[in-house]
């Protein structure tokens, strides 16, 4: 089971990283989403894998670690999920504006064919 979780995280990371390195804003957003799944699972995994013992205290079940899953990573993941959502919202909107303002959905706001800037010769006069 550990292997399955680890490999799942690995696949998510690989896919996320690959998409993160794409040139289009939307692909990058997808990549970030996948990466955030991966991180959530990873943090969650830091509490180890426990099946069927949610950390909701039940009467007559002694509150010790053997009987419940580790609640702390779950709380951390919750925070992480929320923050990731907030960030996604922002990046999505930036992507929209990027496309609207610069007429390109390239991550850098322009297609790479164009040179990044006018050369120094244009900007500098002959005055050294």
């Amino acid at each position: 089971m550990e292997f399955a979780l680890a490999s799942g995280i690995g696949v998510l990371v690989a896919a996320g990283v690959y998409l993160l390195l794409r040139a289009r804003t939307f692909d990058v957003i997808l990549g970030l989403t996948l990466l955030s799944y991966a991180t959530n699972l990873l943090i969650f995994a830091s509490g180890r894998m426990v099946v069927g013992k949610p950390p909701v205290l039940r009467a007559l079940v002694e509150p010790v670690r053997a009987n419940y899953a580790d609640p702390l990573p779950q709380a951390l993941v919750l925070t992480a999920i929320v923050i990731a959502f907030a960030m996604t919202a922002v990046v999505v909107v930036v992507a929209m504006r990027n496309h609207a303002d610069l007429r390109s959905d390239h991550v850098d706001g322009r297609e790479p064919e164009r040179k990044p800037d006018a050369g120094p010769e244009d900007e500098r006069s002959r005055d050294a």
């Binding site: 799942g8 995280i9 390195l21 005055d127």
Partner: protein, 927 residues
């Protein structure tokens, strides 16, 4: 007293800067007041200095760092201070007449005073760091002065070049001083001079020497860094006269003199300094001869003289030092006067080109007379001051060093110097004042205002006085200065014009004759000179600086090109390096002893398969965006179910809700983005990225696996489980952690959420954008689903409240509930349209966020009333008559804040995004 002396010029500068609207005359008076007053003070102090006592004042600045504003006045400092103030006063007088109407006198004199102060600081400094401080200040103020005529390209270039070179030297000097401080343990001059042996013995000595000399050589324009000085001649002439003959360039040799006891006395010092000095001496002189620009000639001759002084200090014998100090004085007097004369010529003739000048004695006889005397002093003609120091130099050169070959070389250099010196002095005198000419001058030359001649006359008189009566006029001064330089090692000497027939005198005579010959052979030599190296230093500098700018630009542009992807790429590369480095050589430690893994339930495999397949499908379909979005929905679902399966119901709930809202958000965004990704045809990049991502995936999987198979020990959560119910009154430990144990995290988290909503709002509120593709027709009606929501909406709200209230004891809580309420409202938006919802709903989301945040803060701050820390939860059981017991935890207030923030934030995001088009249309209609 010293502090006051030092402060004078700065005060003057400040006064000038403040004196807005003051007349030129007032400004000049203000500027003159400083050096005149200063001279007065110096005069008052003179007897004490001459008596050999040393004044010292120390103001604490940074005692821990050994930095104190320590000033002292010994002989050397006294001499230099006199030089700085005296010539300064003359320069102010001169400049007042020199400056044109359109030049800003305030700016000029302000900078000049700044410079004067800095220079005084250099000479008075007792702490080497303070010396460095003022040293750099001279560079900066000279930058401002050289670039005074900002409109002129050569002025700007010259200023920058001077700043670059001297700034470089200053930084090197700083390094050297720091190293000295390290060796000696103090920056105080006493200690440093006393620690000379320690310095010379230290392993750092070569570095120290190199760095300090770098400072000295750059400031004093020594070969090969001499080229900035001729360039600096673009400055107004008073500046050249002051900075580039009398004072600033002397700072270098001053430092050499200052640190002489500490640094000199090794072979390294001897050979480096003498060689550099000698080469500079010759090259400067040689170039001086062939300059057509009057100031160029003077500049190169200055370089040459500075080389001479350097050479003298390099020789290091006591008498050589005496000669060096003496020549500093002499050179300052005659060169300053020559510069001023050149300025007069420039001023009155409109040109400084020697090829166009000539025969000026007819037009300006007094000036001519003064200049001729001064240049004779420069040539080292007897009865003038230059002669004396030159003689001393010849005498020292003949005895230099232990090796005869070196001695011969130095002597030949000295002789050549004599020849060249006479030659360029002749060229100055002959080409400007004698011979034929002038040719094609823009104006008719005439005598300048008399007050412009006065400073020149004073200096020339000094030349004569020293040259004729050295014993009377200059000997006490020199002795005082030398005593300050060498301390107890100062030699006994007496100055006299006539030493009898000896080798130096012969050399002098040979020099004069050689110079005359040389001058008359000049025409032929011009070709030789042209064939020789051009002023390659400057050329090299320009090429290099230009290259530097372009290269720096190209480099940074190239490195920064590639934008986000390159950023991310590098980060991932760094991560991979950091992630793999610790395992190199100990691969075994990654997995350690593996305990048996837990068995996998069937559901696990299904989840795994769906997760992996949908993830890979997302990658495969990422170009088709809607498809990718739908497929990634399945990934999210699987992650949630995995959470559920692995005993994390709260996570599953949150993940699901967030997932759904995210998808809604992306769908809204997709409307304003291209529907498909353009696929770049860069297979290399794709393979490279694929490779990295696989490595990253494998790496993270490995780490996760290694972590998972280790048995945890000592995690703090065990205690949380135990204390959750009795102390925080909650059975759902995750929620208890969120609102109690780690409530502060949640506080931050909702802030993030709230701000995200505000950012979205801020970015889209006034944005005008149109979708790429607009479906024809009016908004579509979906009556049947809309009708269904009439039934579901109140139920969904109820579910939300249920989740909220149950949160502390069962999965749920403020966050989950907040999103759960946002979802049905969003459905309303989708099915009924934004206009309908917003017109009737009447809820200001921004204000909602604010209220929520304040509620959460209030929930946390409540405990402060009881003197308990922020977010300490309280708990009461209310017993009401009919209803029964009502458990109330103060965490509930906090959680309510969370609830409100999340609900309002989510809706602010969704409604802002959903209504972009409507606002755009409205704005376009209004326009």
């Amino acid at each position: 007293m010293l502090l006051l002396l030092l402060a004078l010029p700065f005060v003057a500068a400040l006064a000038i800067a403040m004196a807005r609207g003051a007349s030129r005359r007032t400004v000049a008076w203000l500027a003159a007041a400083a050096p005149v007053l200063g001279l007065g003070m110096l005069g008052w102090l003179t007897p004490a200095v001459m008596a050999g006592s040393e004044l010292r004042e120390i103001v604490s600045w940074l005692p821990q760092g050994g930095l104190a504003l320590g000033l002292h006045l010994d002989g050397l400092a006294w001499m230099f201070a006199g030089l700085v103030l005296g010539i300064g006063a003359l320069i102010v007088l001169y400049a007042h007449y020199y400056l044109a109407e359109e030049d800003s006198a305030r700016r000029f004199f302000g900078c000049l005073m700044l410079f004067m102060g800095a220079m005084l600081g250099v000479v008075l400094a007792h702490n080497l760091l303070v010396l460095v401080v003022f040293w750099e200040l001279t560079s900066i103020s000279s930058f401002l002065l050289i670039g005074f005529w900002t409109g002129r390209q050569d002025a700007r270039q010259g200023a920058r070049m001077a700043l670059t070179i001297t700034g470089m030297g200053g930084l090197a000097l700083l390094g050297g001083v720091l190293l000295i401080g390290r060796v000696v343990g103090s920056y105080e001059l006493d200690a440093v001079l006393a620690g000379g042996d320690a310095i010379r013995a230290s392993a750092l000595y070569p570095a120290i020497l190199g760095l300090v000399l770098a400072g000295v050589f750059t400031k004093s324009a020594q070969f090969p860094l001499h080229f900035w000085l001729p360039q600096a001649m673009a400055a107004p002439t008073p500046v050249s006269a002051y900075l580039h003959s009398a004072t600033m360039v002397k700072a270098g040799v001053f430092l050499l003199a200052r640190l002489h006891p500490a640094l000199a006395g090794t072979d390294l010092f001897f050979y480096v300094v003498t060689t550099v000095g000698a080469v500079t001496l010759l090259i400067g002189a040689w170039y001086a001869i062939f300059q057509h620009d009057l100031k160029g000639l003077l500049a190169y001759s200055t370089i040459s003289h500075l080389g001479l002084i350097t050479l003298l200090f390099g020789l290091s014998t006591p008498m050589a030092v005496v000669a060096g100090v003496f020549h500093i004085l002499n050179h300052a007097t005659f060169k300053a006067s020559l510069f001023m004369a050149a300025g007069i010529i420039d001023h009155e003739c409109g040109t400084r080109d020697l090829r166009r000048l000539g025969n000026l004695r007819k037009y300006m006889p007094y000036t001519a007379a003064l200049a001729i005397v001064a240049s004779l002093a420069m040539a080292g003609i007897p009865l003038l001051n230059g002669f004396l120091s030159k003689e001393m130099f010849f005498a020292e050169a003949l005895e230099a060093g232990e090796q005869s070959a070196f001695r011969v070389a130095i002597s030949i250099a000295a002789l050549l110097y004599g020849v060249f010196g006479v030659a360029y002095s002749l060229r100055f005198v002959h080409d400007a004042f004698l011979g034929r000419g002038p040719r094609a001058l823009p104006v008719e030359p005439h005598e300048p205002p008399v007050w412009m001649q006065v400073p020149v006359a004073i200096l020339v008189a000094l030349c004569l006085a020293v040259g004729i009566l050295p014993g009377l006029v200059i000997e006490p001064v020199l002795k005082t200065a030398v005593a300050g330089t060498l301390g107890e090692a100062a030699p006994e000497f007496s100055l006299a014009v006539w030493h009898g027939w000896n080798l130096p005198l012969v050399m002098s005579i040979a020099g004069v004759l050689g110079g005359l010959l040389f001058y008359f052979a000049l025409r032929r030599l011009f070709a030789l000179h042209d064939a020789m190296l051009r002023t390659w230093g400057r050329h090299l500098y320009h090429v290099n600086v230009e290259k530097l700018f372009n290269a720096a630009w190209a480099f940074t542009a190239r490195v920064a090109a590639g934008g986000i992807r390159r950023s991310l790429f590098w980060m991932i590369v760094v991560v991979l390096v950091v992630g793999s480095a610790p395992f190199i050589g100990q691969e075994a430690s990654l997995l350690g002893d593996l305990p048996a893994p837990q068995p996998m339930p069937a559901l696990g495999w299904v989840l795994w398969a769906v997760l992996v397949a949908s993830t890979l499908a997302t990658v495969a379909w990422h170009g088709k965006r809607l498809t990718a979005l739908i497929v990634i929905g399945a990934t999210g679902l699987m992650v949630s179910v995995a959470f559920a399966m692995l005993s994390a119901p709260d996570l599953a709930l949150t993940q699901l809700l967030v997932e759904m809202v995210t998808i809604a958000l992306m769908m809204m965004a997709l409307n304003y983005l291209p529907k498909q990704s353009k696929q770049a045809r860069t297979p290399f990049r794709r393979w490279r990225d694929a490779l990295i991502s696989i490595v990253a995936g494998v790496g993270v999987a490995g780490l996760a696996y290694a972590m998972l198979v280790r048995t945890p020990d000592g995690a703090v959560s065990a205690e949380m489980l135990a204390r959750s119910l009795p102390e925080a009154y909650g059975a759902n430990v995750v929620n208890v952690i969120l609102v109690d144990f780690r409530g502060f995290d949640t506080f931050g988290e909702i802030t993030v959420f709230a701000v995200a909503a505000l950012v979205v709002h801020a970015m889209l509120r006034f944005a005008r954008m149109r979708p790429d593709e607009v479906m024809p027709g009016p908004p579509v009606q979906l009556p049947i689903p809309a009708d269904l929501t009439q039934l579901l909406f109140p139920l969904a709200l109820t579910v939300s409240i249920y989740l909220f209230l149950r949160g502390h004891n069962a999965p749920g809580g403020g966050f989950i509930a907040g999103l759960a309420i946002a979802v049905p409202v969003l459905i309303k938006y989708v099915l009924q349209g934004a206009r309908a919802v917003e017109a009737t709903f009447g809820f200001d989301y921004v204000r909602g966020i604010s209220i929520g945040l304040l509620l959460a803060a209030a929930g946390g701050l409540g405990s402060l009333l009881f003197g308990l820390p922020f977010l300490t939860s309280g708990h009461v059981d209310l017993h009401l008559p009919v209803i029964g017991s009502l458990p109330l935890a103060s965490a509930l207030v906090f959680d309510t804040g969370v609830y409100v923030v999340v609900f309002a934030g989510a809706l602010l995001i969704l409604s802002t995004m959903g209504t972009v088009r409507r606002r755009t249309l409205a704005a376009e209609e209004a326009a």
